[in-house]
């Protein structure tokens, strides 16, 4: 287990995570190349969210190592942007959209500094980038689900990170927001940023991502989409719950999913 390569934005070695006694992720090792838009896919309960949480130390890993550009995660926090699941916070919190985006600056401010005028201007710019400038003073509970998701993305942009972890940013948003989000992710990719997205909808995988990580409690496959997104790997990831139409198009038959139905 040598020292990770300093050019790799993310390298993880042998991560195992267990809630209670049952491991939810076993021995996952991954090397993620720079400047890719990466989809993390797998069935419900496969450990997709757990993977990005354990990389960031939000759930304790039983074993394993994470390095960001060759250094431990803790030293590289400022390079990371995080978009948690929208449902993970209380949107009735008394604050407005701009203030939420400003929270993206807190990591850079250290212990005592307060957000400056420049921070506020930057937060405003990030809101404009997601098309939410007109809503900056809106109480967050008054925003629609799609607008809340855009606010979360703007907050991640405000972090000015190199690597982004996004936990189901497309869940429960309208088509316009989905389009705006994917546009934004492609912009980030064009700026050589590395974006990892937990994703549910298999129909859009080939369209959205140029690199994918397939997991189901363990790593099934990782690599460029055209090489890895095969019916064989899908079968291994999802088991018998999939039907195949043609070579690369897969339709999920599990009706509990928010994704496509037959």
């Amino acid at each position: 287990m040598g020292i990770a390569h300093p050019d790799l934005p993310l390298s993880i070695r042998d991560i195992t995570v267990a809630y209670q006694k049952k491991p939810v992720l076993r021995h996952v090792s991954l090397d993620i190349p720079e400047g890719r838009l990466i989809g993390i896919i797998g069935p419900n309960g496969a450990g997709k969210s757990t993977l990005i949480k354990s990389i960031q130390g939000l759930v304790p890993a039983a074993s394993g190592q994470v390095s960001i550009y060759g250094k431990p995660f803790k030293e590289q926090r400022k390079l990371i942007g995080y978009v948690p699941q929208r449902e993970s916070v209380d949107w009735d919190f008394p604050t407005d959209a701009l203030d939420v985006v400003l929270m993206g600056r807190y990591g850079k401010l250290g212990w005592f500094k307060r957000p400056s005028k420049r921070d506020k201007e930057w937060a405003m710019e990030c809101l404009s980038k997601v098309g939410m400038a007109d809503y900056s003073n809106r109480q967050i509970s008054q925003l629609s689900g799609g607008q809340q998701q855009r606010v979360f993305l703007a907050r991640a942009l405000a972090q000015e990170a190199q690597i982004y972890f996004m936990d189901e940013p497309f869940a429960g948003v309208d088509a316009a927001t989905e389009k705006a989000i994917i546009q934004l992710l492609n912009d980030l990719k064009a700026q050589k940023k590395t974006v990892l997205v937990v994703h549910h909808d298999l129909q859009t995988v080939t369209e959205y991502f140029d690199y994918i990580v397939m997991i189901n409690k363990r790593l099934i496959a990782a690599g460029p989409t055209e090489e890895v997104f095969t019916s064989d790997n899908l079968q291994k990831t999802y088991g018998g719950r999939l039907q195949f139409i043609g070579e690369h198009t897969a339709v999920h038959t599990d009706t509990n999913k928010k994704g496509a139905l037959v």
Partner: protein
């Protein structure tokens, strides 16, 4: 002058508790405040037994330690699979009961009476004065509460952004390296100290009212956290002034009257709050109906 001291004491209690209570209700932890306020009883009793008097500092330390122990135990039970409301219920009733047993065992030898601990007696506050070198410096309770109030304001003011993000989005806070657990326990430590500083005047039971009601009222009136914090303190002061007036008029319990006023203020804002009040919601609905017709 006595009225002034009583109102000041009441205001400090209500403002400190209201201000800290805002964070509790935003974290949906109002019942944790309830738990702490009851669970510190053994802390008070033990500190009292060890020092033999109402030494405020020993009591503050005792209460803060027990308060944090309560939070820790609740977390421990919860993580080991006990449902969180059950974990809270078990922990605070057990600790509270230990306090009751301790006080009834030893309380007769010393001047600590269960009624006083539970219900408080704010009317006696002006006579328990702080004396340094023979000079009187005003009621001790006012000093104790004033110091806790200022400490709470300073701590929350200094770490406002941390408290805010830990309350709104703890996962994000942890991801950017903010020690979420530290701020959790810091808040709970402040709550414990505010509770013990307040219990002599309003009692261990009504402290909960002061922690929840003014902040819940403020929550109905604004969409901004700093405004909510300010309003909760203002409402606290209002409760104290109006509650004292009500108590003198009815010749009844001051702490009780303060809480009744707090309840009434909550009811008023529940009905008439500009955005979330029942009346304004009803008006909006009528407006829409009229427009449709």
């Amino acid at each position: 002058m006595n009225s002034f001291w009583i109102i000041l004491t009441g205001s400090l209690v209500a403002a400190t508790c209201g201000f800290l209570g805002c964070f509790l209700i935003l974290r949906r932890m109002a019942m944790l405040g309830d738990a702490i306020s009851h669970a510190i009883l053994p802390g008070i009793a033990i500190a009292f037994l060890l020092t033999g008097g109402r030494d405020s500092i020993a009591m503050l330390v005792g209460a803060a330690v027990i308060g944090l122990l309560t939070v820790f135990l609740i977390q421990l039970f919860h993580q080991s699979g006990v449902k969180s409301d059950a974990a809270i219920g078990v922990t605070f009733t057990a600790l509270f009961a230990i306090g009751v047993v301790l006080i009834s065992l030893y309380g007769s030898h010393i001047d600590l009476d269960l009624d006083c601990v539970l219900y408080g007696e704010i009317a006696y506050v002006p006579w328990d004065t702080l004396v340094i070198n023979g000079a009187e410096w005003g009621p001790r309770a006012v000093w104790g509460l004033g110091i806790i109030f200022i400490i709470s304001l300073l701590v929350v003011g200094l770490f406002f952004k941390q408290f805010k993000i830990c309350t709104f989005d703890p996962a994000m806070a942890a991801a950017i390296g903010i020690p979420v657990a530290l701020f959790h326990y810091l808040l709970m430590g402040l709550v414990s100290m505010a509770t013990v500083a307040s219990f002599e005047s309003v009692g261990a039971i009504l402290v909960v009212a002061m922690m929840v009601v003014p902040s819940a009222t403020a929550y109905l009136l604004t969409d901004r956290l700093p405004v909510m914090l300010g309003l909760s303190m203002l409402i606290g002061v209002l409760c104290s002034i109006l509650g004292y007036s009500l108590a003198t008029w009815l010749d009844s319990s001051i702490a009780g009257s303060m809480t009744v006023v707090a309840g009434l203020l909550f009811l008023i804002s529940f009905l008439f709050s500009p955005r979330y009040g029942l009346v304004s919601k009803w008006q909006v609905r009528r407006q829409i109906k009229l427009e449709l017709e």
